[in-house]
Structure formats: C-alpha cells, structure tokens
Symmetry: C2
Subunit: 217 residues, 2 copies
C-alpha cells in the first residue's frame, strides 16, 4: 500500500463497545463505502483473542478498499494481523520502540493533547498526529476540551497529516477542518448513528465543502 | 540463557497493583535472592509505557540472577524488552501467533483451567503449562477452584513443566507439589508478605521438603 496517498479526511475508530453486537466486518464495510479513508481498531476490554480476530477481519476489508488499517496500542496484534500501522497514546509504547517492532514502512500515529506533547513526539517522526481532545466527549470524559486552537498551533509547526479527535460530529466538523486539520477521527458520531454509511457520507460532504472554501478556484 | 535448565519451583508473578508503591526492581531483587526461579511481569491497568519501563528493569535483574523473565500477554513489550518469554491466557493471542512473533528460542507459557483447555493448548507445544486455579483466590475470584486433582490429570498427560497457580501459599503448597507440579506460581502470598525475601525462602524450604519426600534416597 502506498501511504503517501492516504485519504485522511475521515478516520473511523472502531471500538467494539460501540457496536452493540453488530458484526464488526459489516460495519467497517459500510464505513468504507461511505467514504472513510482510514480504519483503526481499538479495544480496552482486554479480550485480546477477540481483538486479534477482529483485526484479521478488518485488515481484509480495509485492504479491499485500499484504506490503511491501523491498530491501537498493540504492536504485537498489528504485526500478527499484518496491519498497516499502529496508533499510540502518551501512555503506550514509545514511538521508537513501535518503529523498531513494525519496521519503517508502517504507519505510526501518535496522540497529542497540547504543544508540549506535540514537540516531544515530533522528534520521533511519526507518520501523523492525532490532535485533541477538540470537543467534550463521553469517550474521554477526564480530558479537558482544547477547542480548535490546538489544531492551528500544530498546523503552524508541521506539514504532516493532522487528524483531529474528540467529540467531532457532522455539525461541528467544519471549524476543525478550517483550523487546518487534514481530517477528523470519529468514534461515536459514526458508530452510534442510525446508519453508519449515510453518516460517513454526511461527514464527507461537510469536509469537502470546507476544503473547497479553503482552496477557492 | 539455557531454558532447559530453568528452576520452576517458585515462579513469582509481579503485578504492580500488589506493590503498594514499593520499587519494583528492589522487590524483584529480593524475590530472586530468596530463591525465586522465574519472574513474570503482569499488568492489567493499561499504562503500557510504565509496564515497558518495568519490563526493562526486571529483565536486567532477572538476567543478573540467570532467571528467565516472562511478560504476561504483551508480546510486543516482551520483544521490545528482550524478555525471555511470554505467558498467555485463553483470551490472549493464540500460541502459534506468539511463537511467530517471538521466534522459537523463547519461552511460551499458557494458562489452562481444565483438561479440555490442556488438550487444546498441548497441540501448540508451549514451553510450560500454568495450571489452576488450584485454591480460591482474591485475584481471580470469578474462577472456581479446581483443587490439586487437575495437577494429577495434567501430570499424567505431559512431561513439560507444570506450574500450579491460584491461591497458593507456604501452608498449602505441599499438596500441590505432591500432586506432580514442578513449581508454584505466586502473586499475593509473596507480594503481600511483610518481607518478600523471607517469604520466598519459606516457600523454597517447603517445596524442597516435598521434593525430598517424593524422591527418597
């Protein structure tokens, strides 16, 4: 897969606890058909066997759609499932360690919540930055929302892809993109929507309109 | 390290939540000085950065004492910290996957709770079997205790090392060894003891007496 050509606009994080028993492979399929460009699998429950099985399934679906498949935190699962990358937070394995495990051709994403974290992580040369928490969110209730200011600050300091995260939905995605993000990472606004494909399409419309405004012909 | 020569008698599982803030490296040192033959690091809290740092420290201490250092569940952390092996439960990565990640020279341990699980795991040729839950334990309160019968059953079916686990302390270790275990895996009885080194020494005395009884001169 050619990772210089990733479509970061809409980055779906699939967390099984948001699926309510729906089959994960079909949900991923619907998201990709709706325009999602990157899929990440995340699990905080600890059943790694099920997580690994899900990773194998999602890798297959994502590859079919030529979208990168990224595993949250677990470099071992990523390697075993031949994922295209790993996303790490501040409390996960250090970026150089993940790079050494995965090899240099894989995507390494890092979460940064403020400029200090950004500066620290930038030195490790990750593939992209997940920046947030932009808006208040039920998923990470312990975090203070930063608003879009952090996107502008990080944008001024890097040309790498910035994926904004935290409470982003169709209604509030535009200011995030206008602040300089390359895309939005979404969990609940996609997975809790009545139809995930329709919701992904709505995101894509909003994002494309914002990009048009930013680059007038 | 020569893994044909492991002393399985006393296998200490170090879980930070049992340390009450005591420094992990010194605790490991005291355990090894007291006669512990194998050290495992386990973490269920999810702070993988701290887990990785602990793994680096324990690898160093264990290597100094020529004891294998084993990481619970996380093959990525094991590789990154150059651990001597990984221990997996039924809900962790499959043994063949862990073997492929670690290479054939590493220790792979598996937890089995009954004969069905034993038969299923035996086919994957692990290095040793963690067998239990032998006695009732606060650590895995959801499990029914099997008593020592399961040790006898597994012993009749394998020559590989059997490490009994679950509520084992100095007072109840003897019947476990007499049933055919090669050693006992211990968390709370070691880590919650007033002096971990003294407690390890008491375990070793009991285990050696049992072994003498089993093999009279």
């Amino acid at each position: 897969m050619e990772f210089s050509n990733v479509n970061w606009s809409l980055y779906a994080i699939i967390d099984k606890s948001f699926l309510g028993g729906r089959p994960i492979k079909q949900i991923a399929e619907a998201l990709l058909e709706g325009g999602v460009g990157v899929i990440q699998l995340r699990d905080k429950t600890g059943d790694i066997r099920a997580f690994y099985d899900d990773a194998l399934a999602l890798k297959q679906v994502a590859a079919y759609h030529q979208a990168p498949f990224i595993v949250n935190d677990r470099a071992d699962v990523a390697i075993a499932a031949d994922a295209d990358g790993v996303h790490v937070g501040q409390e996960d394995l250090p970026v150089p360690v993940v790079k050494a495990l995965l090899g240099k051709d894989k995507i390494i994403g890092v979460s940064v919540h403020d400029l200090q974290e950004f500066e620290r992580m930038a030195g490790h040369d990750p593939t992209y930055f997940g920046v947030g928490t932009i808006y208040k969110t039920a998923t990470k209730s312990e975090r203070n929302a930063t608003g879009t200011a952090i996107i502008k600050q990080v944008r001024a300091r890097t040309d790498k892809p910035i994926v904004a995260i935290g409470g982003i939905d169709v209604a509030n995605a535009a200011p995030v993109m206008e602040a300089g993000a390359d895309g939005v990472a979404v969990i609940s606004a996609l997975l809790c929507a009545p139809d995930v494909r329709t919701e992904a399409e709505a995101f894509i419309r909003t994002i494309q309109q914002t990009l048009k405004k930013k680059r007038p012909i």
